[in-house]
């Protein structure tokens, strides 16, 4: 089923509360990032370094995945491979079933959203509870995250206060953020305590040492990966990184680009389940490696650059479109510029082609990407692929064919512009959709071409004199 991007965008634009919420949030995150990178030379060097690290890892992707697997297994981590979301869900479900698990607590993981894990588990009688505050809020509201770092960014505190009052027993209305967080803490603590299974994503998977790295501020990630007896981590295959020494610069880029922090509160490096003599930690750790279109992305030399993404969210924070329509309007798991590049590749241009048009190619995203992904170039490339499809719009093909004739043949161009200038007083006043919001542009009395011809004639005459 096709995604109706423009329709969704229009609805979002009309929601003034949403517009205000996003404006505030985006301004906040942009300022935070700016403060975290006071030295533009350092930023430039670091971005290039990050680019190199990710590019090098990608150039060795199959070997690194094998090395990661071997080292994880050596460390006692069980490794599974899934080509599709269904396969990934099945693997995770079977691990949970093996342990007769009924309650899973989840750390924030966009990959788990990608595979719609919660719905899959719930349909099979397993409660899958989000423990990141933002994800918890979004789950309570029966919504999906609208941002990849701050899932409830589309809500203001009044809306969250009402949500808590409506959905949580014995909770009175309060706009105090401390009290709201306190409620979340209290409820989720009990769930960490009881849970059979902990599920998490992975920010970086180090091939050299078989280590899973997690970035977080709240502590729920550590709870999910340490308290329950079984920990299941899921990641996209592109997250594998060659060496441990690659991590510090990538971590610095991630936290400073995402929220303007020099480092997150917790950086959690997991290399094995509970070892002999250790007193806590999961007895079993599983790693699920998900493909879901990534190996396909890998085939195109240009689009392969998509896989450098470290999921920081800076692109969407700086996108003037995302800032106004918010994440839900995209109708996809990944919104904003990275979404416009990733989703058509995962789900196909037939379903997600329209969202590539939701971009003015202003370049703000590419400018802030910590690993120098040329996002505007990739969006344009997808438009190119879209235009080559048999299903492309007949109207647009025709329009560009006409354009080519007029602008490609100087004589035709001159006729066209002559007519436009001489008939300027009857030039259309209403050219929808342009004139829905603006006055129509009026051609000048003479073109620059004509004026330059006149100028040249005048100069020649003056020389003769």
């Amino acid at each position: 089923m096709k995604n109706h991007f423009r329709e969704q965008a229009v609805n979002a634009l009309a929601d003034t509360e949403l517009r205000d919420n996003f404006r505030g949030a985006m301004d906040f995150l942009r300022d935070k990032r700016l403060s975290a990178f006071p030295d533009s030379d350092e930023l430039s060097e670091l971005r290039t370094h990050g680019h190199q690290i990710k590019a090098k890892s990608l150039s060795r992707l199959p070997e690194l995945l094998e090395q990661l697997e071997a080292n994880c297994i050596k460390n006692g981590i069980q490794v599974h491979w899934a080509e599709t979301p269904e396969q990934a869900c099945e693997i995770i479900h079977s691990v949970i079933k093996k342990h007769d698990g009924k309650l899973a607590v989840k750390g924030k993981s966009m990959v788990s959203e990608e595979i719609a894990l919660n719905h899959y588990l719930e349909a099979r009688g397993i409660e899958s509870l989000e423990s990141d505050m933002g994800e918890y809020i979004v789950q309570l509201a029966d919504e999906t995250p609208s941002h990849i770092i701050m899932p409830a960014i589309h809500k203001n505190k009044e809306q969250i206060a009402h949500l808590f009052e409506d959905k949580i027993e014995d909770v009175k209305y309060t706009e105090s953020v401390d009290e709201l967080i306190g409620t979340g803490r209290r409820i989720l603590r009990e769930k960490f305590f009881e849970a059979d299974i902990g599920i998490s994503g992975v920010n970086f998977a180090v091939a050299e040492t078989g280590t899973l790295c997690l970035v977080e501020n709240e502590g729920n990630g550590r709870m999910c990966t340490t308290v329950p007896p079984v920990h299941i981590a899921i990641t996209g295959i592109e997250k594998v990184v060659e060496k441990l020494s690659d991590i510090p610069p990538l971590l610095s880029l991630l936290t400073r680009s995402a929220t303007g922090q020099n480092i997150s509160t917790y950086f959690n490096m997991i290399s094995s389940p509970r070892k002999e003599g250790e007193k806590d930690g999961p007895e079993e750790v599983h790693l699920v490696l998900l493909d879901n279109g990534r190996s396909k992305m890998f085939q195109d030399e240009t689009l392969q650059q998509t896989l450098r993404c470290i999921r920081c969210g800076a692109c969407m924070n700086h996108c003037p479109v995302y800032s106004r329509i918010g994440g839900h309007a995209y109708g996809t798991v990944y919104p904003g510029p990275i979404g416009q590049v990733v989703m058509p590749q995962i789900e196909g241009l037939d379903k997600q082609g329209e969202m590539t048009e939701g971009c003015s190619l202003n370049g703000a995203c590419g400018e802030v990407c910590p690993v120098e992904i040329p996002l505007p170039k990739l969006i344009r490339k997808l438009r190119e692929q879209k235009s080559a499809r048999p299903s492309r719009q007949g109207k647009e093909v025709f329009a560009w064919a006409i354009w080519k004739k007029i602008y490609g043949i100087p004589f035709l161009y001159k006729c066209f512009t002559y007519a436009a200038t001489r008939f300027r007083h009857v030039s259309p006043k209403s050219i929808s959709p342009w004139t829905d919001y603006r006055t129509a542009p009026k051609p000048a009395p003479k073109t620059l071409h004509e004026l330059m011809l006149e100028k040249e004639r005048l100069t020649k005459m003056q020389r003769i004199k």
């Binding site: 505030g24 505050m133 967080i181 709240e218 007193k279 930690g281 190996s295």
Partner: protein, 219 residues
Amino acid sequence: MSTARNNILQRLRAANSSPITKKTSNWQPPRLEKKERLIQFKKSLLAAHTKIIETTEESWAQELIKIATSKHLTQWLYSPLTESGIAFSKEITNQACDIQLTPYDQTVEAFKDQLFHQIEASFTEVQAGIAETGTLVVLPNKSEPRLMSLVPPVHVALFRESTLLSNFSELIELEDWAKKGLPSNALLISGPSKTADIQQTLAYGAHGPKTLIVLIIRS
């Protein structure tokens, strides 16, 4: 070997990977001179809402007792196997304070209820510090398990200035993890737990400790 694994690896190998970028970078992790390190370390810790108490080898245990009594924290989790854990226990006896020490000397399953519902604070050592980002390097082991620095609402960490490093890269080099492998869990802790998920407003104590106190033993 699974079909999925083979299919994925096969597809990856069939592609012509894009060339590694020709751009070069001169990025180096920021190095801080020894005398600058403590200043930066403290600045970053304080900015993250961590409490700092500068102390000495002789007086840190007394400072710890003071924290307990001033904050009315009587239920403490500690390690009976570390030097500092033993010293803490001794000091409590010496001062005859009303502090109940629970040793983390059995598996978590044996006392999970107590850990989650009764323990008010924990006291741990710290292996090293990272000045650049105001970070404590906590490497859980058989003596000081992982949950000590996570579950109790107050975490007090004992840090020695002599272990302060410049940056994360230096830590990795020093520990030689690439060759030796990492411990089962290695943690970089840079403040108390926090979140800004509600309208970008900072709140502390989301799921981890609400209060982090670092006792810095000066060199």
